[in-house]
Symmetry: C2
Subunit: 478 residues, 2 copies
């Protein structure tokens, strides 16, 4: 049974659009296409993601800063190669009131240009580096494709980090640091992900190479949830980020950048949600525990008194808890808190009070256990860890099951016939023509090759049957 | 002696522009007028302010959400009265790439319209209220006056809360709750402020009344650092926020809103900073403690070892601390950390090591004391509280000294002659004509009357010498 119009397995997108709205994550009735309200639940999840990442930025010595939304058009012209793909999506501000502005401004579709304009003023010598700056901000892209809340928005929130280094080796190390930051973050979000190096033709404009984090979803499609780029000196030369080396000679800075957005929320919802609502990792959940009193005539006071005592206990343990005293039935409340993904429900009725404890119900497995009062906090904490571990296991299993091999084109074609097969691992000659044929015939894309692992081809190129150079991962992506 | 081009007392604005740049709060070399980089120091201060306010929003049950930056032009037309003052400042997006958009969008100069459009879809019955929503976001106003970092920007960060209630009494209570939230927040920021009810003609368009928080600065001008508005049913009628009451009848929601921006950072800098740099309340300071080793030949290792041990001690106490091992001289380091406003400096030299302790130096008073190693944490914590209390005292004193009385127009005129006198308390008939004369002749403004305190006039209207209705506070404002 599903509380939604469609079951997740039946019609994933209908389920998704229903759950984000009903679980108070997003409301898209704004009359602004592709720009939605991030509701309290969605906002809070993003805020917790921010804290997790900020902690990692802190230990790796990134500085948070905020740069202007407006980008002078001339900066965009300076980086015409970089912006070529973006241009149709770039929003332009041309007027203040009824008055035309002397100069039109772009709204950031990404912040390389404005940030690197500043970097060129900040960096003089090798001692000014590494410079590692992160920005949390809203991004504007007037995407012409179908917009979908959190998956494809015209305005969305993201984090973008941009770094400068004195040597190419340090830039490579930074790419790897970013992979640790994002990887360990995705782990904390209990997400499955594959890290690939994108094919040359799919590299971020201006970058030496691009690394992407793709999450397999339960419908067999994949979702790009983050990217890291080794920018080498391309931008530094255009924006003149030049520095003096220890030996007195000059060079341009070696740069990297990496970003991820509220899409990660979409991934968590999609991977773990079920037909009753959200399932959230406990440390990410806005509300971690809800206390629902089970009322029987004449015993209300006793139950209320005990519930309040338990509420205080849980609050004092610094957990995010609510005691729902509203007049709705307990069945209604159970549904409501399952919908928004509260990881643990505490049920307190006359039976529990008499037995000197409470019943704890897990959102993810629906499992219910009786716990004595003095063991409540300890047990909730253990449950949080257990839930987290089990969600991670589910993610790991989903990733493993999402990857399958195709030795021939026939096998590959069959996998994509009438369904989405997750990642298909196959052999590729490396030519863009073969990649184009895959796109054309299967409406699927080569995501890339595993980063840092030199997988040996196990057959000929699946398209042209010439010698394969790489083991490529193919999927249909959102 | 000042480390800045101008002393604070000599030329406040020159000092201010110098300190915000050099203390790494703001960099305005963006080539976008009025839109600056909030540097690491500025960003971190704002982030801590956010946390303080979020804690207060949490206990008062506000929900954080995020609404679109783009506002459909028709919403603005619906609220033409409200927007009249804003229109020349409203930025419009008209193009995506080279393509003209079918519909132009305003960039939020404030979010009433888009938020209330959503509220009308969320509120059906009295049980849906109170609705208390807060938004942290960037705001765009193409201000035509001189822009000044944090004081008057074209893009700035702010918090805006918007509430709905079932009765006018609850709206009044909400106004007062907002005054507690903002008041206690300003207290934690060690800021002086006067709360006044703005004159009728200076009320927020569409509001029943407006309350403003004005901080006196040391140059005798004042700075509005926040506002609260009782909106009554004006917006609710335009946006159709209609609800069913308990008795079955219908009414429009009673609304309030309140906001404050990164101007608060400007206030903290301006009130407490001195000719050596920032002075920050310890709980707001990005870096709270810096350890500077005092090196003598042959004793470097001993000092370094002890410094590292102290660093660990302070880190473990959850204080934000840095140990500066760079090759700069200790004098240079002292200046650098005074400039960015680190509240407590720990000096460790051979003498300190021999005596089994450290020297602690306060940023605000420059006072230095020797403390034994096992008392360090305790003493730093005590110092933080002491510094906070003393900054609050300074703020209180500044406010008290900023207020003076004028019984006649001659007295009033004299106060504004060649200087800025803070708030001048005087008698006013309440007519806008007299207020206009004050504006014209003194280039000063009536800020309002004390909120909630019915001050009795102590003379005739200072302008027309008719009977006075109110005791008004006049100042020159930024």
């Amino acid at each position: 049974m599903s509380v939604f119009t469609k079951k997740k397995d039946e019609n994933f997108m209908a389920w998704y659009l229903d759950i984000v709205r009903r679980a108070q994550v997003v409301d898209s009735r704004t009359e602004v296409k592709g720009a939605n309200v991030l509701m309290a639940n969605g906002y809070e999840i993003w805020d917790r993601m921010k804290r997790i990442l900020d902690e990692k930025f802190y230990v790796t010595e990134h500085k948070n800063m905020y740069f202007p939304l407006f980008i002078p058009d001339k900066f965009i012209e300076m980086e015409s190669t970089h912006f070529e793909g973006f241009v149709p999506e770039v929003a332009y501000v041309t007027h203040a009131g009824k008055k035309k502005l002397e100069e039109k401004f772009a709204l950031r579709p990404t912040s390389e240009t404005i940030m690197y304009h500043m970097y060129s003023q900040w960096i003089r010598a090798y001692t000014d580096m590494p410079l590692k700056v992160n920005q949390w901000c809203n991004i504007i892209r007037i995407d012409t494709k179908d917009t979908k809340p959190l998956l494809r928005d015209r305005e969305f929130q993201w984090t973008e980090a941009h770094t400068c280094h004195a040597t190419p080796e340090e830039a490579v190390k930074q790419v790897e640091e970013s992979m640790w930051i994002y990887g360990s973050f995705f782990d904390e979000c209990c997400l499955p992900y594959l890290i690939t190096k994108r094919p040359k033709y799919d590299t971020f404009p201006g970058a030496l190479y691009s690394i992407a984090y793709d999450a397999p979803l339960t419908d067999g499609k994949t979702l790009q949830i983050g990217t890291t780029h080794n920018l080498d000196q391309g931008f530094a030369k255009v924006f003149n980020i030049r520095f003096q080396k220890e030996d007195g000679s000059h060079d341009y800075a070696y740069q990297t950048c990496y970003g991820l957005s509220t899409r990660v929320i979409a991934a968590v919802i999609s991977v773990h949600g079920d037909d009753r609502g959200l399932i959230l990792p406990p440390y990410l959940a806005p509300l971690q525990v809800v206390i629902v009193p089970i009322l029987f005539k004449g015993k209300e006071e006793m139950v209320d008194k005990e519930s309040k005592a338990i509420l205080e206990k849980i609050k004092n343990a610094n957990l995010r808890v609510k005691y729902d005293v509203s007049e709705k039935t307990s069945g209604f409340k159970f549904n409501e808190y399952e919908l928004i993904g509260v990881p643990v429900r505490v049920e307190i009725g006359p039976k529990e009070v008499e037995k000197g404890g409470v019943t704890l119900a897990r959102r993810d497995t629906k499992e219910r256990i009786f716990v004595e009062t003095d063991k409540i906090i300890e047990t909730i904490r253990e449950l949080f860890d257990k839930i987290t571990e089990e969600l991670k296991d589910r993610a790991k299993k989903l990733l493993e099951e999402s990857i399958s091999d195709a030795n021939t084109y026939e096998e590959l074609e069959k996998k994509f016939k009438g369904r989405n097969p997750g990642f298909v691992r196959t052999n590729w000659c490396g030519d863009v023509e073969c990649a184009d044929l895959i796109k054309e015939k299967l409406k699927a894309e080569i995501r890339g090759t595993l980063y840092g692992e030199d997988e040996k081809p196990f057959g000929l190129c699946v398209i042209c049957t010439e010698e394969a150079q790489e083991v490529a991962y193919i999927s249909k992506a959102y």
